[in-house]
Symmetry: C2
Subunit: 377 residues, 2 copies
């Protein structure tokens, strides 16, 4: 069997159709989109088409979409600029956010810009909405709430609409790191009280190095990266032309096949869960696994303590199976998963995150189960 | 004749060899460079090779090179993070810097973080070094000096080594926006007292959306974009893998053919100057045109006042010739060129920036001269 890639929450392969859309802008149409001559007008038009396409997918105005270098920059922009511009003194988040959010908020707290509050989560990573309301009642000043739509390591979903309604009730700004759910669920942002959501193309078969931020019209912020008048003065720097063409194409493909992909991947995940349960004693799952409350692309499995547990990911890698212990973004830090710590997962149980895409198959799941049995005995 | 592209200071076409180097990372090697499995190790290795290659070109340590989304982000990072981390209270710049520098410093000044001082420049855009020293003497606190290596609109070069020595004398931090000169001159950063220089791939036949910052080891700053532990904890966000492969390849190609390209382009520019002078009365040049004090890729021409002057760029565009009135980055703002204003250029004289690359030819210059004669009569 070829290599198996079960680390799609870290990054996904570029869809062939996305690459095909990008190539003409790498080979032929190279004008700076800000140039007023014909070379520039061609590429400007490609960028504005991309913006319109994304806006249509999310049911927002094209004027509310701004391109960035990825999800992390977009999260930084939403958090740092809203804190500055709206003179935010209090922010609420959870201890299991992606580091793009957590480290950013912690830095602002450490610098004395904000006071950071952590909403309670349960052992599945579900946010305690009653506690969220209590925290929001705590101050009369405008508060920033930053809670991710789906946790990247354990897949637990936030009830986005419900949280948006709570934020609206207390006039809080609401930012949601939607990097893991963008292009995996249909978003109707007219129907949700959220001020900032973000996307990163490489999480949905688009290119690395490009993302976007949606900024609700009534929460307009100032730029984080200042310079030229690109992105209607909201983000300096010559646009990542091919990246922008690629992200729009990737989102549009995903949106056109949403149900089909979701059914395919959900079936893989449920099959994986069933096979794990019938082949391993004392298998557990980190995070919420209720299909309606869990991101269908992510399955975080915890096995019984095992002498081969520590080498599990390494053994899978040798067998040609790519999975991960948590977020790739933190793998350089060697500190273990703050998410698993955050939900109180037992440290002696080996945990693996398997994350799927439309390109995975049932056969790959079965092969992985067989290999897991070999390793864990 | 095919279309003529004389706007290479705005952006350049991707070199075929650069694109060829990028394609395998778009088609086959897609692992997240932070992943520890084989997919990730392959791409991690490509990124570290790219870093080493760039470090070798600049004669610095690979640990001093950090990848960004472009020159503008790199300029923001150098300025904003050094001001914060080194508690800088005074910064010195010029009025003809790129907006990535100027708007960033102006914002910091407006917010009360720094007091911004403008060094005098002459009518060619040359920095008054005596005045620079006077400004540096003004305070005992550590000062940030930010002066671009070559002006992007008029090509005037800064004596980088000399300015570095002055900064060193007063213990100032020195940032130079080298976006227009990177890959156009040989850099030996061991020999220059500069703390931060930057590059943007798309200015030297690499891809858009990727750049780098050199941060001298003894001026280590904290990240501007916080998140995961990418770039050794210096820049969060999944790396723009293909972009990074592309920027290293583009710089390495440029460095290998530096003299050859310089001679070719310098010859085009001198031919252009000569032809302009013999075909037009009262032609002038904005900026320093001494070949040793002027970026060889940029020629900013000013014609005698003419009724067709206002439509000059448009007329050239109709004739298939792409040139510009100034920086593409500011074209969205419709405020004219702050650089030409900064050097006191006469507002009634139509000015055009022609900027060249290794791909341009003498025939294209001659064709352009002919078209200019038609338009300006």
């Amino acid at each position: 069997m070829n290599k198996i890639y079960f680390d799609n929450a870290a990054t996904t392969p570029i869809d062939t159709a996305v690459l095909q859309a990008m190539i003409p802008y790498m080979e032929n149409h190279y004008g700076n989109p800000s140039s007023i001559h014909s070379f520039g007008r061609t590429t400007r038009s490609a960028i504005e088409e991309a913006r319109k396409s994304i806006a249509t997918c999310l049911n927002v105005s094209p004027g509310e979409i701004f391109f960035t270098s990825g999800g992390t920059e977009a999260d930084n922009m939403a958090i740092r600029c809203s804190v500055h511009d709206f003179k935010i003194k209090h922010a609420i988040t959870s201890r299991i956010e992606h580091h793009a959010v957590l480290h950013t908020l912690e830095e602002l707290d450490k610098r004395g810009n904000i006071q950071l509050h952590f909403v309670k989560i349960d052992e599945q990573g579900n946010v305690d909405l009653t506690h969220l309301e209590e925290l929001l009642k705590f101050t009369n000043e405008r508060t920033l709430v930053s809670l991710m739509h789906a946790n990247n390591e354990i897949g637990t979903l936030l009830p986005l609409k419900q949280v948006g309604d709570i934020c609206a009730k207390y006039n809080a700004l609401f930012h949601s790191d939607t990097v893991q759910t963008m292009a995996h669920y249909a978003f109707d942002l007219q129907a949700i009280n959220v001020h900032f959501v973000v996307g990163a193309a490489h999480k949905f078969h688009g290119p690395k190095g490009v993302g976007f931020i949606y900024i609700k019209n009534d929460a307009r912020i100032t730029p984080y990266i200042t310079g030229g008048s690109q992105e209607r003065n909201m983000r300096g720097g010559t646009e990542n032309l091919y990246g922008i063409v690629g992200i729009a194409k990737a989102l549009s493909i995903a949106n056109a096949h949403l149900t089909e992909h979701q059914q395919h991947i959900q079936a893989l995940k449920q099959h994986f869960i069933k096979e794990l349960q019938s082949n391993f004693t004392d298998v557990q799952f980190n995070g919420n696994t209720n299909p309606h409350q869990s991101l269908y692309t992510v399955l975080n499995v915890s096995f019984a303590p095992n002498p081969n547990g520590e080498m599990l990911l390494f053994s899978l890698d040798i067998a040609g199976i790519a999975a991960s212990g948590g977020s790739a973004c933190t793998s350089g830090s060697n500190q273990g998963s703050h998410v698993l710590r955050g939900i109180g997962a037992a440290a002696d149980r080996p945990s693996v995150r398997f994350s799927f895409s439309k390109m995975n198959t049932i056969e790959e799941v079965d092969y992985t189960i067989a290999k897991l049995k070999e390793v864990l005995g």
